[in-house]
Symmetry: C2
Subunit: 314 residues, 2 copies
């Protein structure tokens, strides 16, 4: 394997369900975004070829190709560099992505679960910089999470750790996808939020702000003073605080970083998370703990992957 | 500090609320138990002197004194070797135990939280041997826990990690000591078990096996075929399984080791824990996970402390 002549550069690829976004990264900065690739409706082989081309294009002005890190949504063996399966993309069963791309490109290619990649980015350069123990959660359609413990990405025995979205806030509550009753994602995922909001508006006899009532719509409504929307954010904050309290009792972290679309509710949400969490934990733990929004935004995944790729060759 | 001439020996001290038990340990074996010391009603200074004497007595037939590890129930700074405070013993506020005893004995003296010490013993020589990621829980009057992650004792940012007893199984449930509603200990600690059992017998119109209805009494009753007692063990197993599921989603460990008095219920309890836990987690995680009783019994703490003391001088 050729050692890169530009070790501070790397390609970070955020592999999403509908768009694959390659980026040339240096430290915390995305220098150039490559052409976005849509993985839907094409074979893994086809997509890999498009990715190879995209990586070559990004490195065109560098003396040589640079290490590549790819963050993917699904079950990924980051040690062997194999994709076992992806959440929303068909045809990616047992694909040895690292081997295929590194043989073609002659540079190291590492894979990582997307939540882990984002967490690593936030820990190295973002909201969790300078911390030892960080818990990261991403709130969206799904609720994902990742852990940095003692300054290392902690992946667990089957590389399946950090699944905060599947922890339970009520052992007899709403079932999640694995029969796990009280599953956090069944309360604070995008769809349950909308469903519950539409119900709350109906109960209150008030018209919902939009027919979809997305978290963004609910934030807009709350900013305009809608009490129903405010109550929903309080409920979500209370539930997130309860889930975080469990993580905090188990891991006693320095920081909880909250990212994803729902986190953009900002001040509508975070004070309720804080109140709930601190009412459920001890002062020894509370005195040092910070709960903060993610800092790197949409670039966190690419930046994290690129950093992991560079770390793998050091 | 003198380097011990017998590095494979160490003194392990299990410091309990009513008895301090020093032991001379070699590997997983307790060679000799020293005289038990009662810390109640005496000053910390007095108790430290008695401990010093006990350590010297245990090492009398060795060429020299050996490293000492002490496991204590409470808030302990294992890095600085300071006891901030003990759960059930007065007079132990901000006591620099390591400094005091190591200056007198001229050997390294390390401190550890008792749950951590037991977990380390179980991980090195007991039920969790040969695992990478182990979660340990102790069921008694209190419900404590400890984590071994990637082959290291994980203590958390304020050395307060692993408190499984304070995690919640119901965000609106029974309050725990920190206002943490649904606190596991408020369901499966010795006292709540007895209280709930007495209520269940009263509701069933059946006389309780004893007026106290301790977990041991309930195990005896269940072994005799009492359906009320069987139901209680099923409820406890279901609750423990729910709490363990949260830990498993977060940490994806290899093993959960269950120790303490309540764990002695054995087959009355473990199948219910298994069923509950596996119904709440995914097959990827379940396929490898083991839930087992602790193996070292009452010696786990002393063995773990002794091993930590030896590890500190390597």
């Amino acid at each position: 394997m050729t050692v890169s002549t530009s070790p501070s550069y790397a390609v970070g690829i955020d592999f999403g369900g509908t768009s694959i976004k390659p980026a040339l990264v240096q430290g915390k900065n995305v220098l150039t975004h490559g052409t976005t690739i849509n993985p839907q409706g094409r074979s893994a082989e086809d997509t890999l070829s498009a990715m190879e081309e995209g990586i070559r294009a990004l490195c065109r002005e560098l003396p040589s190709l640079v290490p590549v890190g790819i963050g993917l949504p699904g079950f990924v063996d980051s040690v062997q560099g194999i994709v076992h399966g992806l959440s929303n993309v068909a045809g990616w069963t047992e694909v040895p992505v690292s081997k295929i791309l590194s043989e073609r490109l002659k540079v190291p290619v590492i894979l990582e679960n997307d939540a882990n990649a984002m967490a690593y980015g936030e820990w190295l350069y973002g909201a969790a910089a300078q911390t030892r123990n960080a818990v990261c959660i991403t709130l969206g359609t799904g609720v994902g999470g990742a852990l940095i413990l003692e300054g290392q990405l902690y992946r667990g025995s089957q590389l399946a750790a950090g699944e905060l979205g599947h922890t339970s806030i009520d052992m007899n509550g709403e079932p999640g996808p694995y029969g796990n009753k009280g599953c956090l994602e069944a309360y604070v995922g995008n769809h349950p939020i909308s469903t519950r909001a539409l119900k709350a508006y109906a109960t209150a006899g008030i018209q919902a702000p939009t027919p979809e009532c997305t978290p963004l719509d609910l934030a807009t409504a709350a900013h305009k003073g809608c009490a129903v929307a405010h109550n929903i954010w309080e409920t979500i904050g209370n539930e997130l605080g309860a889930a975080f309290a469990n993580v905090v009792w188990i891991l006693n972290p320095d920081i909880i970083v909250v990212g994803g679309g729902v986190a953009k509710a900002g001040d509508l949400l975070f004070p309720h998370i804080e109140r709930s969490l601190r009412s459920r934990t001890s002062s020894v733990i509370n005195s040092q703990l910070r709960i903060v929004p993610a800092a790197l935004g949409n670039d966190a995944g690419a930046v994290g992957c690129a950093a992991l790729a560079l770390a793998s060759v050091r």
